[in-house]
């Protein structure tokens, strides 16, 4: 199936001369949740802003469901809802008025039933007549989400939706995003919380310094992450792996003072018990042992550092 969003060779140089995007290629599949992970200043907001029509691209192309964002902007934009990073809301309007306004702006006829459902989904129904400025930060964030959903978009961009949102609310938001995906909406969210990407995403893209470093399905990524390391500190350094242990995925490090065993936590049997027994049988003694989990965080940090 054709990706719902295709980004090709996208570059952006701001008027200041700063190049925020350095040739981004990205395909986003229909109906998935893509988490764009990257440190501050990586270009996440710039990328989203270009797709949504707020920032002009310097070069490259973006199509949304086959519609070019510049030539066929009306069709492209009608499909998209955007929740911006900053909490920017009309202060003096009621929640109901500001959400209804958004629906009209995106070309949809008024439909109180739709607005009611959205506000109820976001637990804003009892606040519908309250002025936006009287709401808490978390509620304002939800008002922004309600505005973005008011025209029933096929694609939802969430730019750091849970930044500054407390843990409990964050959970609620994740659940809501999950429900949206179940209804067929494609969701792109940016975050610098690894946990968030891990929890929700189907795919994870890592962006740093204006470049996409990696895009992978979370399951595939998790498999890589599923690899754990068992490190044994040996009493007597070894020159080579003894022939008797050739069947195990073992490596030596620290000049033969450490024996490293790679195993897969996804598998039922890790083989650790068998390995340790064999080591005993062959008189290889160790003074200490530890296991390492290479987390998404570690991969992320090393990726970003590598490219910087």
């Amino acid at each position: 199936m054709q990706p719902i969003i295709e980004i090709r060779g996208l570059e952006k140089t701001y008027a200041s001369g700063f190049q925020a995007l350095k040739g981004v290629d990205l395909d986003i599949r229909r109906g998935e949740i893509l988490a764009l992970l990257g440190p501050n200043g990586a270009g996440k907001t710039t990328l989203i802003s270009i797709v949504c029509g707020i920032v002009r691209p310097t070069s490259g192309s973006v199509t949304v469901d086959g519609h070019d964002i510049l030539r066929d902007w009306r069709a492209a934009r009608s499909l998209i809802g955007l929740v911006p990073q900053e909490l920017t809301t009309e202060a003096f309007e009621s929640v109901w008025a500001t959400v209804s306004f958004s629906r009209g702006l995106f070309g949809k006829p008024p439909d109180p039933a739709v607005i009611e459902r959205i506000l109820k989904d976001l637990s804003l129904w009892d606040k519908k007549d309250t002025k936006v400025m009287a709401l808490s930060g978390g509620m304002k964030r939800r008002v922004l989400i309600a505005k973005a959903l008011s025209h029933e978009p096929r694609i939802l961009f969430l730019d750091e939706p849970t930044a500054g949102v407390d843990v409990e609310l964050r959970r609620g938001m994740w659940e809501m995003i999950g429900r949206l995906r179940d209804s067929g909406v494609t969701i792109i969210l940016t975050t610098h919380y690894i946990e968030e990407a891990e929890e929700m995403a189907d795919s994870i893209g890592v962006i740093s310094g204006g470049r996409i470093i990696l895009v992978e399905e979370k399951a595939a990524l998790m498999e890589k992450l599923g690899k754990r390391l068992l490190t044994l500190q040996l009493q007597n350094p070894l020159d080579a792996i003894p022939a008797e242990l050739a069947g195990y995925p073992l490596t030596l490090s620290e000049g033969g003072r450490e024996l490293v065993y790679q195993f897969d936590t996804q598998q039922e049997r890790t083989g650790i018990a068998g390995l340790l027994r064999k080591l005993g049988d062959h008189g290889i003694t160790y003074t200490n042992l530890r296991t390492n989990e290479s987390s998404l965080e570690e991969i992320f940090v090393s990726l970003v550092r590598e490219r910087a």
């Binding site: 707020i54 009309e90 003096f92 629906r103 702006l105 995106f106």
Partner: protein, 253 residues
């Protein structure tokens, strides 16, 4: 054409007017009443009739024009500056709304408000002085054209300004003086020949003159010239607005 968007913007902007009803309508109506009390009733009775019209009645079209001009500029500029200032403009920029639709929504709402205001001032004036309207259709036409033109000017100002000071300085330093010196309080035939020539560079003169003609049938400059001048100003403003959206000036990075 995204009609729903035009309607949404228009309604949203007028709702702002209702919220701030007192300062947006009552304020100008009260200050205009004061002008009538001072100039029309108190001092005006000592003035000779101008071109066969009592001074109080002579004042009416000029005062209406003056309020309409300044209010159009300040309303329209505030309407578009506010979302830029608060950041909510992101939504407009990301919506499937064309420049033309945006302008109809914002400028339409500001102009509507000005027309309502102008009408209210006329009704208020009727309480103080007796006047008649010789060409009511032209009167409405001039009122509407002026409201739209100066709302466009305000819209441009609201996009150009990058601070509250600039937003207030232009109406205060340019629009208000031009309006005051535009023949609201006098006929330019009362001026010396030199100042008559200078005054002709003031676009407001043509508006006030044309508007006054629609009341009393007498004008400082030919009516066709007044109409041509409004059309010209509107064309210039439209061209600037078109350029703003084409280039993304101050709206898009």
């Amino acid at each position: 054409m995204n009609l729903h968007a035009i309607k949404a913007i228009y309604k949203f902007e007028l709702a702002r007017t209702w919220r701030t009803l007192f300062q947006s309508i009552a304020g100008p109506v009260i200050s205009t009443s004061l002008y009538f009390i001072v100039f029309g009733a108190a001092i005006g009775s000592r003035f000779a009739a101008v071109e066969g019209v009592s001074y109080g009645a002579f004042l009416v079209p000029g005062l209406v024009m003056m309020s309409v001009l300044t209010e159009s500029v300040s309303n329209a500029s505030f309407g578009i500056y506010m979302p830029r200032y608060s950041g909510t403009i992101y939504e407009l920029l990301s919506a499937p709304v064309s420049a033309f639709e945006t302008v109809i929504g914002y400028v339409g709402a500001a102009a509507t408000k000005s027309v309502i205001l102008g009408t209210l001032i006329l009704l208020t004036a009727r309480l103080f002085v007796d006047f008649s309207i010789a060409h009511p259709v032209w009167m409405v036409a001039f009122l509407m054209l002026t409201s739209v033109t100066f709302s466009l000017l305000g819209f441009i100002l609201g996009i150009w300004a990058d601070g509250w000071e600039k937003l207030q300085i232009v109406p205060m330093l340019i629009v208000t003086p031009l309006a005051f010196l535009g023949g609201s309080f006098y006929s330019i035939s009362m001026l010396s020949p030199f100042w008559q020539k200078v005054t002709l560079f003031n676009p407001v003169v043509y508006l006030v003159s044309g508007f006054r003609w629609s009341f009393y049938g007498a004008a400082d400059v030919p009516v066709a010239l007044s109409l041509g001048m409004v059309a010209l100003m509107m064309a210039v403003c439209l061209a600037v607005v078109w350029w703003i959206f084409r280039t993304g000036y101050k709206l898009k990075n």
